[in-house]
Amino acid sequence: MSYIIEVKNIKKVYNMGKVKVEALKTIDVKIEKGEFVAIMGPSGSGKSTLMHILGCLDSPTKGEYFLDGLEISKLKKRKLATIRNIKIGFIFQTFNLLPHLSIHKNVELPLMYSGMNRTQRKKQATKILTSVGLIDRKKHKPSELSGGQRQRVAIARAIVNNPSIILADEPTGNLDTSSGNDILSIFAELHKAGNTIVMVTHDPAVAKRADRTIHIIDGEISNGNIS
């Protein structure tokens, strides 16, 4: 029972005035420590909604969410910020780097919010940027990099704090096959090093790289939670 993620009966309803959108209807997910899980499903099925809840960016309307044994749904917003900072590394389809900061500063950002001092965080960011092969670009702004390079910076930022889980919402969605493969091999390495990874993808070939795949259709898990 060493689940790092345990989601029980989670529901997410968006209240759009008179219309209510049920983005997630009673979802149960269990993910073990060190697993590499892919999430697949048609557009609008609720994959991103689930990822946001897993990433503590949003709270479920109903249900329980345990992360590392901690009941997240009961936590205050302030505490959620700390969880996002130290336990979660989130990677977005659109990279979401800060355009005004150098990539080095972008990677330092989570460390700054965790209160690490300047010298230490410089050292740590340098180490991580080296591991994704971008240390020679550290002074560049994100707009001066290719899409694949930007996503590598985003991965560096996600893992710089040694998070408990890495969440990636269509990380290769905006990339060509070759840079997508670069990203996937980084994930493979991270997985081998013992990291837990949850990744959303539309591409079955990409999903094959994972240990197992969860299918979501219309806000529900289609074929059970453990493959």
Partner: protein, 410 residues
């Protein structure tokens, strides 16, 4: 586990620099507001100090003056002047007074040869000189001997000397006043107030009227010129301003007894007048300060708008910061610090420009402007305060954004 205030300030500063043009445009409003605050405060400061200086030049704060109250009509025919005997009585009742000078003032024509000059001639005691802190530049002033003997002498102001004698030495010359021949015994020091509101020449100086006066012994005035025992005024001086205020109360009692409690005289203490003048300028100071504050408030409202627009534009950035672990407080401080930097910088620039154009405004208005350390600090503090107050609303707005919605923002 928190971003330090120092770190927030660093982030706020780098925000500021990465958006130079917008920051500078925002600053201008605050610069103008602060400039007007510092100029107004300095103006008031100048007026205040001018008033005090004028008081000091006119004999200091230990002085008490008694005038006739022209606005008051006595029903029982109380006299608006003193007799010589009454003055002797008053003097004996206030032995604590340091200097005592009764005055008769009359307008006369003074003539020397073919030249003549109309002016106010005053019959005085020797104490006039220490009371007004004004002496002669040559010859001598009225002496006790002159009072005892009703000497036929006159001491003239520099303007009188210039008009009657030109380049000649006035000392020892005989002039005629009201058919009496008087010998010029002295010429008074030239009076001129520094930094005064004077347009063009000397004649408009705040103290130049004094140079047009002439002085003779009080006894000479009574016995040989007017032949009337009517003394219009009295000036006194004590050792300290506090004594002057006490003496003023005592004199009010004495005069009220002498004139059946009718206010035919006005008693003024320089100390009280100075306080009154200060109080008057204080009111203006407050009014002008409020006007400048309003212009700063307008600057503040501009800031709110610009900051809200900035935050709207940076919603996605806020979402990213929240996603990697920024707390609401971190976002709040980041934006508040940015606003305070803008207003503080605006304040400092405004004060610098304001102080450096004081001389120009001073020339233009013909008034003295004095920027004290206190005014400078107050102006900068006010502008930073505006930043704090008006920075709060946009900062709260930024820190309340929902992470998912902020990230979805285009």
């Amino acid at each position: 586990m928190a971003i330090s205030l120092k770190e927030s300030i660093v982030v706020g500063f780098s925000d500021f620099w990465s958006r130079k043009i917008r920051s500078i445009v925002t600053i201008i409003g605050i610069v103008l507001g602060t400039m007007s605050v510092i100029v107004v405060l300095s103006l008031m400061n100048g007026v205040n100090q001018k008033t005090i200086q004028w008081m000091l030049e006119r004999g200091g704060l230990n002085k008490i003056s008694i005038y006739q109250n022209w606005e008051y009509q006595s029903k029982t025919g109380q006299r608006k002047y003193f007799t010589y005997r009454e003055l002797k009585l008053i003097h004996s009742l206030i032995p604590e007074v340091k200097y005592f000078n009764p005055t008769i003032r009359r307008g006369f024509r003074i003539s020397y040869g073919k030249k003549e000059y109309w002016t106010s001639v005053r019959g005085v005691y020797p104490d006039f000189s220490p009371i007004e802190e004004w002496g002669v530049q040559k010859g001598r002033f009225v002496s006790n001997f002159d009072i005892n003997q009703s000497s036929d002498i006159i001491v003239i102001g520099t303007k009188v000397a210039e008009e009657l004698f030109g380049n000649l030495d006035p000392l020892g010359k005989m002039v005629t006043v009201h058919n009496r021949r008087l010998q010029v015994a002295g010429v008074m020091e030239h009076r001129f107030m520094k930094n005064s509101v004077s347009i063009g020449n000397d004649n408009n100086n705040a103290l130049s009227y004094l140079n047009r006066r002439a002085f003779i012994p009080l006894s000479t005035m009574i016995n040989k010129i007017t032949n009337q025992d009517k003394i219009n005024g009295l000036a006194l001086k004590t050792s300290t301003p506090e004594e002057a205020i006490l003496l003023k109360d005592k004199l009010e009692g004495i005069l009220s007894n002498l004139r059946r409690r009718e206010p035919v005289f006005i008693i003024e203490s320089a100390q009280e007048e100075a306080e009154k003048a200060k109080k008057n300028t204080k009111i203006f100071q407050i009014i002008f300060f409020i006007i400048s504050l309003i212009s700063l408030l307008v600057g503040g409202i501009v800031i709110i708008n610009i900051m809200l627009a900035t935050i709207q534009e940076r919603t996605r950035e806020i979402g990213i910061r929240l996603a990697v672990g920024a707390r609401r407080r971190d976002i709040f401080i980041q934006f508040l610090v940015q606003t305070v930097i803008i207003t503080l910088l605006g304040g400092i620039i405004g004060v610098t420009i304001g102080v450096s154009i004081l001389g120009f405004i001073s020339n233009f208005l013909k008034m003295e402007l004095i920027a004290s350390f206190g005014t400078i600090i107050l102006s900068v503090a006010v502008s930073a305060g505006i930043g704090l107050i008006f920075g709060i609303i946009p900062a709260i707005h930024a820190s309340n954004l929902n992470p998912v919605e902020a990230l979805r923002h285009e």
